[in-house]
């Protein structure tokens, strides 16, 4: 574990050094990579702090029983519907969906529901879909949603069952 950390720190510093060096000497590829890095960081910083504060509020306010009731075992088909609806309002992309899904899991949501949530937040975020439809046509978006959503739910159920049978546990405390 410790060695891994050292490797990480070394490679990250090497990366930073490379970018700085590129900017000083005007090395184009390095400058381009640096610009990409900044664009994406800004993009994420716009979303992430809000997302994490919401996650924090969620952890403090929402009772475990509530989550268990709506997203846990015995929530049945409604659990998946909630997961899809919740996913529709998610912004940002997978990198926001992961921590949210993780919090849901820690509060007692079942595997199949959180995988549905992750999959659905990848494909059916409402603002994104509207944006997509304006470029690609409504028919394209409709087909994509109608085909992928059932597949996501079915595969999530299969994966969830498989993990539950094997008693798979996700580490807590992140």
């Amino acid at each position: 574990m410790k060695r891994n950390n050292i490797i990480k720190i070394v490679s990250i510093s090497a990366y930073i050094a490379f970018i700085l060096f590129s900017f000083m000497t005007g090395f184009d590829p390095g400058k381009q990579i640096g610009k990409n890095f900044i664009t994406f960081s800004v993009d994420m910083l716009e979303v992430l702090p809000c997302a994490f504060v919401l996650i924090g509020l969620f952890e403090v306010w929402v009772k475990k029983e509530t989550v268990e009731k709506h997203f846990g075992k015995g929530s049945g088909i409604r659990g998946y519907m909630w997961a899809v609806l919740l996913a529709g309002t998610t912004v940002g992309g997978l990198y926001v969906a992961f921590p949210v899904a993780y919090s849901l899991y820690c509060k007692g949501a079942r595997f199949s529901v959180i995988f549905t949530y992750i999959g659905a937040s990848a494909i059916c975020r409402v603002p994104m879909t509207i944006f997509e439809a304006s470029f690609m046509g409504i028919k394209f978006s409709a087909i994509r949603l109608l085909v992928s959503l059932p597949l996501v739910i079915i595969s999530s159920i299969l994966l969830g069952d498989y993990l539950e049978k094997r008693n798979y546990k996700i580490m807590e405390g992140k």
Partner: protein, 148 residues
């Protein structure tokens, strides 16, 4: 804000949790950002358009799903790009493979996903997503009459 008025103690706790979680996952995000910046440099938009424009649809779908998997783009870049490609005559099927893998399969988000759910689940989920994307592409092709 509302939460703060109702119960400031709980809200402060929430913010504490938020900061802690954020700091915990920060290294993974940093790793991802570094990957993203390098991959986007190696595979710029132009290269993607070149490959997706391939006249053979199946080759196109293969490339599209490959690029979609290894890159990560915000929607406001990806969809205009697809709109342009569509006007250039790239088929719906290829674009659907591209956008769906782009959204669902995250080779670049792997460091983050792994932190939360472990390596095994991450790999299984991404492989499943990849196949879902292929099925979606096929169906798109059928519905737009591009396959038959």
């Amino acid at each position: 804000m509302l939460s703060f008025i109702v119960n400031s103690k709980k809200t402060l706790m929430a913010i504490k949790i938020a900061v802690k979680k954020f700091v915990n996952i920060l290294p993974a995000f940093l790793t991802m950002l570094i990957f993203v910046s390098v991959v986007l440099f190696l595979v710029p938009d132009k290269v993607i358009s070149n490959y997706l424009g391939n006249s053979n649809k199946f080759v196109g779908v293969t490339f599209a799903s490959f690029f979609g998997s290894i890159t990560l783009m915000p929607g406001f870049i990806a969809f205009p790009l697809c709109g342009i490609l569509l006007k250039k005559g790239v088929s719906y099927m290829v674009l659907s493979a591209f956008t769906t893998t782009l959204m669902m399969v995250g080779v670049l988000t792997y460091p983050i996903e792994k932190e939360y759910f472990g390596m095994k689940v991450t790999i299984i989920r991404n492989v499943i997503s990849f196949f879902i994307a292929l099925i979606v592409a096929l169906m798109t092709g059928i519905f737009f009459g591009e396959l038959l």
